[in-house]
C-alpha cells in the first residue's frame, strides 16, 4: 500500500521530476522488512515530515536517502539522477543526525568546515563564519562540542549540514534530545532557516505536534508503509485510517452500520441513532464502519438542549470523568451503548461546567465526522511512546 502526494504525482519513470523520488523501495534486514514497497515524492523546496512511531521504518527510509543503507529493491532519484546505489559521500544530501554526531576532536569551526574542506571548496573560513552567524554561534567557534549545551550542539549539527547547500537536508529526530521549551524554540528556528535558505527538508519524527507545526507535507508511516500523506490540516481533519486518526491527535471511534450511500452523504446507524457523514470523508467499504469524531468537535449540553449542531444529536450520555486543564475542560461521557467518548470544551465562559454523574447530550456537525474501514484496529496508533 502506498500513496503519492495529491499535489504532484507525475507518472513513474518521468526523469524530469526535480524533487526527491522513491519508487517501490523495500529494505529487509534478514526476515524483518523495515520498509515495504515505498513510493514517495518530495517536491523541491518543501518541508516534508515523515511521521511515525519508533520502528515504523522512517529512519531506515532516511538512511537509504542518505546512502547509509542500500535498498533491497526499488530506486531513489534526486532531480532525475538515480542515486539508489551512490556512495553517501557522492550524493548532494546531508544529514542532521539524531545524536548530532559532532566530531568530538574538532572544534565548532572545524566541525562546520568539515564538508567544505572535503570538497576542496574555496573560502571555507568566510562561509563558516556566515553559517555561525546564521545559527547565532559566532562566539563559540573555538569551543569543542562537549563544551556546548544540547541546543547549541543541535545548531552546530544543523550548520554543519546546511553549509554544504545540499539538494536535500535530512533531519533524523533532530530535536528529540531537547527539553520541551527548547524544542519549541528550535522548531520555529528550523522553519525560519528553511524558508530563508529554500532547501528541501525531510524531517523524521515521532512527535505529531512537531511534524504538524513545521512541515508543509506530512507522511504518516506505520509498519514500513505510508498510511497517508498530505498537508497537516488535511491529515488531521480527514484521516483515512484508524492509525492516522489516533496517531495524529485523538479520535472517538464508534462502530456503526452503513445504511445508505446517497449523493454526497453517507448515512450510518450508530447504535440506533442515524448520523450522516460527507461522502468525501468516508473511507469505508462494506456495510459497517468506524464513525470518527475529534473530541474538540463534540459539543456537550443539557438533555434536550438545542445545541448549535444541525444534524447529529446523541442523547443519553452520563459524565464519568472531568479534567479541568485551564484552556479547556476534558470530559469522558458514557454513552447508552456503554462506550466512553472524549469531549474537549473550550473554556470560553459561555458554557457551564458539568460534574461527574450529570446526564448530558452530545452533538456534532456532520461535516466534522469521518468514516473509516471496520477491518482496521480501532486502537491502532493510540498508544504513543514518548
Amino acid at each position: 500500500m502506498s500513496q503519492v502526494a495529491e499535489t504532484a504525482s507525475p507518472p513513474a519513470g518521468d526523469t524530469t521530476y526535480d524533487g526527491l523520488r522513491l519508487r517501490g523501495v523495500t529494505k529487509s534486514f534478514g526476515a524483518f522488512t523495515a520498509v515495504r514497497d515505498l513510493d514517495l515524492d518530495v517536491p523541491r523546496g518543501s518541508f516534508f515530515a515523515l511521521l511515525g512511531p519508533s520502528g515504523c521504518g522512517k529512519t531506515t527510509t532516511l538512511r537509504m536517502v542518505a546512502g547509509l543503507e542500500t535498498p533491497t529493491s526499488g530506486s531513489i532519484t534526486l532531480a532525475g539522477d538515480d542515486i539508489t546505489y551512490a556512495k553517501p559521500y557522492r550524493r548532494p544530501v546531508n544529514t542532521v543526525f539524531q545524536n548530532y554526531a559532532l566530531f568530538p576532536h574538532l572544534d565548532i569551526h572545524e566541525n562546520i568546515a568539515f564538508g567544505l574542506k572535503r570538497r576542496k571548496v574555496a573560502d571555507v573560513d568566510t562561509r563558516v563564519r556566515e553559517m555561525l552567524d546564521l545559527v547565532e554561534l559566532e562566539t563559540q567557534a573555538r569551543k569543542r562540542p562537549a563544551q556546548l549545551s544540547g541546543g547549541q550542539q543541535q545548531r552546530v549539527a544543523l550548520a554543519r549540514a546546511l553549509i554544504n547547500e545540499p539538494e536535500v537536508l535530512l533531519l533524523d529526530e533532530p530535536l528529540g534530545a531537547l527539553d520541551l521549551k527548547l524544542r519549541r524554540a528550535m522548531q520555529i528556528e528550523l522553519k525560519r532557516i528553511q524558508t530563508e535558505v529554500g532547501l528541501t527538508f525531510v524531517h523524521v519524527t515521532h512527535d505529531q505536534e512537531e511534524a504538524m507545526t513545521m512541515a508543509d507535507t506530512v507522511a504518516v508511516m506505520n509498519r514500513g508503509v505510508i498510511e497517508q500523506m498530505g498537508a497537516p490540516e488535511e491529515l488531521y481533519e480527514n484521516p483515512h485510517t484508524t492509525f492516522v486518526a489516533n496517531f495524529l491527535g485523538q479520535s472517538n471511534l464508534v462502530e456503526g452500520a452503513i445504511k445508505g450511500r446517497g449523493g454526497d452523504v453517507v448515512t450510518v446507524d450508530m447504535h440506533g441513532i442515524d448520523v450522516s457523514i460527507p461522502a468525501a470523508r468516508s473511507h469505508a467499504a462494506g456495510d459497517r464502519g468506524w464513525i470518527g469524531i475529534r473530541p474538540e468537535k463534540v459539543l456537550i449540553g443539557d438533555p434536550g438542549e438545542d445545541l448549535d449542531a444541525p444534524g447529529n444529536s446523541i442523547p443519553g450520555g452520563v459524565v464519568t470523568d472531568v479534567s479541568f486543564v485551564g484552556v479547556s475542560t476534558q470530559y469522558l461521557v458514557r454513552m447508552p451503548w456503554g462506550q466512553e467518548l472524549q469531549v474537549f470544551q473550550q473554556n470560553t465562559g459561555h458554557r457551564r461546567l458539568y460534574r461527574t454523574g450529570e446526564a448530558v447530550e452530545l452533538s456534532w456537525r456532520p461535516e466534522y465526522a469521518f468514516l473509516l474501514d471496520i477491518s482496521q484496529d480501532a486502537s491502532a496508533g493510540a498508544e504513543q511512546e514518548d
Binding site: 546512502g67 547509509l68 553517501p88 559521500y89 544529514t95 543526525f97 545524536n99 559532532l102 554544504n164
Partner: protein
C-alpha cells in the same frame, strides 16, 4: 511555602562536618599506595642512582666505595653505545609492526567481530597463559634452520641456499613483535571500541571517502590508544633481553642482555646501574617528545 523555608537551614548545618571527614578519608586511602611507591620505587631508584656512582674498582666481596664516580656513565656509553642504539632501533621497528598489526586487529574486533568480540579478546590474551620464555623458545623451533618457514622462504628464493632466520635481526624483531603485540592491541581496542560508528557515518555524509573518513575521524579519535599502546610496547621492548638472547646471536645483543650480564656475570654493578640509568633517561626523553608531538599530554 512556610514549611519548606523552615527545613532548609537544618540541612545546611550538617554539611561542613562530613566534608572534613571526607578529606581525612582521602589521605588515609592514599597511604597504602604511597607506602608501596616508597618501598618498591623510591628506595630501589635511589639505590640504583647510588650504585651507578660507586667506585668501579669495588666488587661483591670487597664492597663498593661511594666516590661519586660520574665517569661510570662515560665508560658505559663508550663501551656499549652500539647495543644501546640497536635496542632503540629494534624496539622502534617492533613497535611499528605491532601498531600496524594491532590496529587492524583492534579495528576488526571493535567494528566487525559482532558477537565474537569477547572470544577474540580472550584469544588476544590467551598466549599469556603460557610462560613468556616457553613462547619465545617455541619461536626458536619455528624459525629453526630446518623448520618449515626457512624451507618455504628458500623454495621461493627469498632466502639463499644457506640463508637462515635464527640469529638474525629479523628473528629478534619478529620475537619482540610477537611478544608485545597484546600490549598494543588491548589499549588500541579500548580506544577504537569507544568510537561511535555514527561519527564515521557522519564523515561519509559530509563527503569523506572511506580512507579520508578514517584519516580525519577514526585515526584522531583512536590516538589515545595509539599513544598508550606504543608506549606499552616500546618501553619494555627496548629493555627486553630474552628475545635477543634466544633468537639472536651476540651480533644482535640488546642493552637488556648487557645490563643483565654486567650484573650477574661480570659483577660490574656500577656500570650496569649506569647503563640502566642511561636507558631510562633516553626512554623518558623520547616518550616526552613523542607524547608532546602526538598532543596527548593528558595521558601522562
Amino acid at each position: 511555602m512556610a514549611s519548606t523555608a523552615g527545613t532548609a537551614p537544618v540541612a545546611v548545618d550538617a554539611k561542613p562536618d562530613t566534608g572534613r571527614r571526607r578529606g581525612r578519608t582521602g589521605y588515609l586511602l592514599i597511604l597504602p599506595g604511597l607506602a608501596w611507591l616508597v618501598l618498591f620505587f623510591v628506595i630501589p631508584f635511589y639505590s640504583l642512582i647510588a650504585t651507578s656512582l660507586y667506585d668501579p674498582n669495588g666488587s661483591d666481596f670487597r664492597g663498593y666505595d661511594m666516590t661519586y664516580h660520574i665517569q661510570n656513565y662515560w665508560t658505559a656509553i663508550q663501551e656499549y653505545w652500539s647495543p644501546l642504539l640497536r635496542s632503540l632501533a629494534y624496539g622502534a621497528i617492533a613497535t611499528l609492526l605491532c601498531l600496524v598489526l594491532g590496529y587492524v586487529l583492534a579495528y576488526a574486533i571493535a567494528f566487525k567481530a559482532g558477537r565474537w568480540k569477547n572470544l577474540m579478546l580472550v584469544l588476544v590474551i590467551a598466549p599469556f597463559f603460557t610462560s613468556f620464555l616457553v613462547r619465545t623458545l617455541s619461536w626458536k623451533l619455528i624459525l629453526a634452520d630446518d623448520g618449515f618457514v626457512v624451507d618455504l622462504l628458500q623454495t621461493v628464493h627469498l632466502l639463499g641456499e644457506d640463508g637462515r632466520l635464527l640469529a638474525t635481526p629479523v628473528a629478534v624483531v619478529a620475537g619482540l613483535t610477537y611478544n608485545f603485540l597484546p600490549f598494543m592491541v588491548l589499549p588500541l581496542f579500548a580506544s577504537v571500541d569507544k568510537i561511535d560508528p555514527r561519527l564515521i557515518e557522519a564523515s561519509h555524509d559530509l563527503y569523506a571517502s572511506s580512507f579520508v573518513g578514517f584519516w580525519k575521524v577514526t585515526w584522531p579519535l583512536s590516538l589515545p590508544g595509539v599513544v598508550s599502546g606504543t608506549l606499552l610496547t616500546f618501553i619494555p621492548a627496548v629493555g627486553d633481553y630474552i628475545n635477543a638472547q634466544l633468537l639472536g646471536s651476540p651480533n644482535q645483543r640488546m642493552i637488556g642482555s648487557v645490563i643483565q650480564s654486567q650484573f650477574t656475570d661480570a659483577n660490574n654493578y656500577p656500570i650496569a646501574a649506569a647503563l640502566s640509568m642511561i636507558l631510562m633517561v633516553l626512554i623518558l626523553v623520547m616518550v616526552l617528545v613523542y607524547v608532546r608531538r602526538a598532543g596527548t599530554e593528558e595521558l601522562l
